[in-house]
């Protein structure tokens, strides 16, 4: 329709700009239009109303249009010189192109047919053409008949870059991409993320338009697929690890299947899932035990459903580095309290946590437990960064804020902010608002805004009357955010877990912790006397994390629940592990993606800090990379010239398999990071037509996206390009069908209105 009225395709208008070819100056056109409008208005003087204004507008538009045509409007755009430019045609030959989408022909066969029938012959009449197959890179082909849809990956960006390099010294006029858009650059979880910026920038720099032609159906007829798995890549031994699995399906709405997690042949977790509506992404949380120390390859799988066309996309692997180095947690308590005892008891069953505690037993004695040597904490709470930052987490009990010196207060803040540790504040007589924390320099650490008043700590009433009618006691309830948290997961089943929290024995005390700050998450609440108060609130702070547990009475769970009930110990172990496990060491190594899908280049980055967790620049850092074949490779890391303490290295993962990079600094700090190169897997995911990606690629480069049945239009549009060797061409606009229509429509409209209004 557009071309019927405007004669040229929208893409041509997008690439050109309007010019007036008439010899008279343009300003005269404007003046004449204004004079005409004024003259017509003068003729209607004294009779101005809404109807006359309408007539005046139509007459003015008519005159303006006629005047414009006298100035000879045209579309100016660059046109490729015949026979002097190269058109690169890239055809996706990955495995996904072999799909038939329920039809008789595969996507690849359709592309081949289109090429051979019209596109290539048409282009070859006017341009030199280069045909490439496109998978991991671009490979030059002599004929479309050489295309075989058997490649294990599709990397559109890399292929385009390769074509640009291949034609660096040649007049490349345009690129045509025939593909289903199932790009595998970022792996299964990164589908639709688009072509990398560098490639787009390189195309724009050469002004090469990329025209894309999409083949295939957007959704397979009947398929279920995993989309992504989000989980930590490191865990402590025996810890419970949550994994958020997202998946979708088409054609199986309402059916059930099983989601499983295995490490080798060992089943770690499973969950029955019911499919929702077609093409809607669903999520499920799997909770599993990390088990013993070591590097583990986990396989998340959705059991194939009967009639599924592509079961290969039902599996996603993940690596989990289970570490056995214990975390050291410092717990300072202002007075002997039962909570202190029961926290210690709970943590005594966790071999991954060393709880070092100090309790102010008397005014003159601090009793220490869990110390590694007699000198540890001998001087009381640490006053030096290197002493405090030895710990991964800090628990502050019933200790008034003023107990800490200004230096210690700053250290506590830096413990979370700079060191990246976790801090837990407990309720108590001298805690939170009652301990003056709201007015201290450490108030920003808290994930809550404390009440302005004191007297917020309330102990349970143990009188006979209160015991017999415990309606006034403090019960607990899981908050919505707590349903997804590993800290508050006492039972694997979410519904049973929420019920468990409702049925826990009432707390021996509670404290009004105030209002959660923006960004904080309330995981559990206290229900008392008709009020709901935050019990456990967490947030990220700087590089670390903080939490407030507004009670010191969870020990009553341990005493009141049946012997052997794990709720109390499990809660504390999970809370303390959450506090400590995320605390980085002095050296942290990372790779952008733990799974390298069809990719061999690895960028290893390292952040190194000294004992005060300030960036450490002057140290040699190297990695020993253990390859899948058992050999090790030494990779020195280069320091960043602009960011102290940052190091990086690039190396090639030559073969598929699991790699372990053990990075160490000259000062002794070390860390290990694992990654896996996985070839030929990503192609099975998101194998439907990704028209969005192809459309974006075309839009970003000045090209157009086409369907296979529009190839004739593509052929007409390709010559109009700013790349290569071009000639400036002016396409006349005076003879557009829309112009003639307007010349007829304007007087007819005026006549019609005059008839209707009776102003003829």
């Amino acid at each position: 329709m557009f071309e019927l009225l405007f004669r040229y395709a929208p893409g041509i208008y997008a690439r050109g700009h309007l010019v007036l070819l008439g010899s008279w100056p343009v300003w005269r056109l404007g003046v004449l239009i204004l004079i005409s409008a004024a003259g017509l208005g003068w003729l209607l003087r004294g009779r101005w109303n809404r109807r006359h204004a309408g007539v005046w507008a139509l007459q003015t538009a008519m005159v303006a249009l006629l005047l414009l045509l006298l100035w000879q409007p045209a579309l100016s755009l660059a046109e490729l010189q015949p026979r002097q430019n190269i058109i690169a045609v890239l055809v996706d030959d990955s495995h996904s192109m072999a799909q038939t989408d329920g039809g008789a022909k595969s996507r690849e066969a359709a592309a081949q047919a289109a090429l051979q029938a019209s596109l290539l012959p048409g282009l070859e009449q006017r341009f030199q053409t280069r045909l490439y197959s496109m998978d991991r890179g671009a490979t030059r082909l002599a004929s479309p008949a050489q295309l075989r849809p058997d490649a294990t990956s599709t990397r559109i960006g890399d292929s385009l870059r390769q074509v640009l390099d291949d034609t660096a010294d040649l007049p490349l006029g345009a690129i045509v991409v025939l593909s289903d858009g199932a790009d595998t650059s970022g792996g299964p979880g990164a589908a639709g993320s688009g072509i990398d910026r560098d490639t787009i920038a390189a195309l724009r720099a050469r002004r090469v338009p990329v025209h894309t032609v999409g083949f295939g159906a957007a959704t397979p007829a009947r398929d279920a697929a995993l989309d992504d798995v989000q989980m930590e890549t490191r865990a402590l031994t025996k810890s419970r690890v949550p994994a958020l699995v997202s998946f979708h399906q088409h054609g199986f709405a309402g059916q059930r299947t099983q989601l499983t997690l295995r490490a080798g042949s060992q089943l770690l977790a499973s969950q029955n899932v019911t499919f929702g509506p077609d093409d809607v992404i669903q999520t499920a949380q799997l909770m599993f035990n990390a088990g013993d120390a070591g590097l583990k390859t986990l396989q998340f799988a959705l059991a194939p459903v009967a009639g599924e066309t592509n079961p290969a996309n039902n599996n996603i692997p993940r690596l989990l580095n289970v570490r056995s180095d214990p975390k050291r947690v410092l717990y300072i308590e202002g007075e002997p309290r039962w909570e202190y005892k029961f926290i210690r008891r709970a943590e005594s069953f966790d071999p991954q946590v060393q709880l070092v505690s100090m309790v102010r037993a008397t005014e003159n004695k601090i009793y220490r437990q869990g110390i590694s040597d007699p000198s540890e904490l001998a001087g009381g709470f640490p006053s030096r960064a290197e002493d405090l930052f030895r710990y991964q987490a800090l628990i502050i009990g019933s200790v008034e804020a003023a107990y800490f010196s200004p230096v210690q207060q700053d250290l506590i803040t830096q413990f979370a902010d700079r060191r990246g540790g976790g801090i837990l504040f407990l309720g108590g007589d001298a805690s939170l608002a009652d301990g003056g924390w709201g007015d201290s320099s450490m108030a920003p650490l808290l994930p809550v805004t404390l009440p302005a008043h004191k007297g917020t700590f309330v102990r349970a009433d143990l009188s006979r009357q209160a015991i017999d009618q415990p309606r006034g006691q403090a019960y607990t309830a899981l908050a919505p955010a707590g349903g997804d948290s590993i800290i508050t997961r006492l039972v694997d089943d979410p519904a049973a877990n929420a019920k468990k929290w409702h049925t826990l024995p009432w707390l021996m005390d509670y404290q009004d912790a105030g209002v959660p700050k923006p960004g904080a998450a309330v995981l559990a609440n206290v229900l008392v006397n008709g009020r709901t108060l935050p019990l456990l609130t967490t947030e990220s702070y700087g590089r670390g994390r903080t939490a407030v547990l507004a009670t010191s009475g969870t020990w009553r769970w341990q005493m009141m629940l049946p012997y052997g009930d794990p709720s109390h110990d499990l809660f504390w172990q999970q809370l303390v592990r959450w506090l400590a496990a995320g605390s980085p060491g002095q050296l942290t190594a990372a790779v952008p993606q733990p799974i390298l899908y069809d990719q061999s280049q690895v960028h290893l980055s390292v952040e190194l800090r000294d004992s005060q967790y300030l960036p450490a620049a002057n140290q040699a850092v190297a990695a020993r990379v253990l390859e899948p074949n058992g050999q090790s490779l030494r990779v020195p890391l280069r320091p960043s010239p602009s960011a102290p303490g940052q190091f990086s290295a690039d190396f090639t993962a030559a073969q598929p398999g699991v790699y372990l990079a053990d990075v160490s600094a000259a000062g002794g700090a070390h860390d290990a990071v694992a990654f896996q190169r996985l070839d030929g897997v990503a192609e099975s995911f998101h194998s439907g037509l990704d028209a969005d990606l192809l459309q974006r690629l075309a839009d970003q480069t000045g090209g157009s996206y086409w369907r296979p049945d529009q190839l004739a239009q593509l052929e007409r549009q390709i010559p109009y390009s700013n790349a290569g060797i071009t000639l400036r061409d002016n396409l006349p606009l005076w003879n557009l069908p829309i112009v003639f229509l307007l010349l007829l429509a304007l007087p007819i409209a005026e006549w019609f209105l005059r008839r209707k209004w009776g102003v003829v």
């Binding site: 007075e335 002997p336 005892k341 008397t362 437990q369 015991i467 021996m508």
Partner: protein, 276 residues
């Protein structure tokens, strides 16, 4: 075995009541002489972190009355469990509050094993435990209480026969768990005060007799039953009478060194129970 136990006990009780045996009679006079105030019933509902809870247990059939405390109840369920009650408890609590940062309630809490209230009080103190016994549910509850993290301190029983009788009750709770002598270097003796040089703490009968022992309990025994992690969960103070030492600590006649040692032991045990 029962008869052997019952007969001497009955005889001792009869003699004591009829003739005012030296210990009881003098103890009574000793208390009366210095005019301790009676303790009014507690009317204030004081809420604190620590409550000194005294175990009210059923006396074994035929167990003797006795004990040297002035304020103890001695009838029915108000039996030997209440020896030195409540003055010993409250005097000790005064000391605990003065000497430590423990937020302790000013008065004691009496608990029994017939309901779940005991779980609200993770520290238990029991005296004259040679006279205790438990029904199976009570024994199960005490076992449950201790294994969950409760702490029991027993005091004021003396000599071989008392030990046997104590053990008979204890074996209802833990039939097979070992009872061991606590070495001087055990943490319970160092958690606050260093108690390397412990000595026998006598009851207030010492004021009149000069004897630090009762019956054939010549040597003080510091014993314990531990949990699976090696923590003391039952602290056994055999052949000593700490409760009397607390009760009479404000008496000029009762030697300070005994009261001081008793306080230190009690404070250490409380501190240990709150930290282990």
């Amino acid at each position: 075995m029962k008869l052997r136990f019952l007969l001497p006990s009955a005889v001792v009780l009869a003699v004591a009541l009829q003739s005012g045996g030296p210990g009881l009679a003098q103890g009574y006079q000793f208390g009366r002489q210095f005019g301790y105030q009676r303790y009014a019933p507690v009317t204030v509902n004081e809420r604190a972190e620590f409550a000194w809870s005294r175990l009210q247990y059923d006396p074994a059939v035929g167990s003797s009355g006795g004990g040297y405390g002035y304020y103890g109840f001695r009838r029915g369920r108000r039996g030997l469990w209440s020896t030195d009650y409540p003055k010993a408890d409250r005097t000790f609590l005064d000391a605990l509050k003065r000497l430590t940062r423990v937020n302790a309630r000013s008065y004691e809490q009496v608990v029994n094993l017939d309901n779940d209230d005991v779980y609200n009080y993770p520290f238990l103190y029991a005296v004259q435990v040679q006279s205790w016994t438990f029904t199976p549910p009570q024994a199960a509850k005490l076992r449950d209480y201790l294994l969950k993290g409760g702490f029991l301190m027993v005091d004021d029983f003396h000599g071989t026969e008392d030990w046997d009788n104590f053990l008979a009750g204890m074996r209802l709770v833990f039939p097979h768990r070992a009872i061991e002598d606590l070495p001087d270097n055990d943490e319970i003796f160092h958690v606050l005060y260093n108690l390397d040089d412990k000595f026998q703490v006598p009851g207030e009968q010492y004021v009149n007799t000069g004897r630090t022992y009762e019956k054939d309990g010549y040597v003080p025994k510091w014993r314990a039953i531990r949990d699976d992690q090696g923590r003391v969960m039952v602290a056994i103070c055999h052949n000593m009478h700490l409760g009397d030492a607390w009760e009479w600590a404000d008496s000029p006649q009762y030697p300070e060194k005994f009261a001081g040692m008793a306080f230190r032991i009690g404070v250490n045990y409380v501190m240990y129970s709150m930290t282990h």
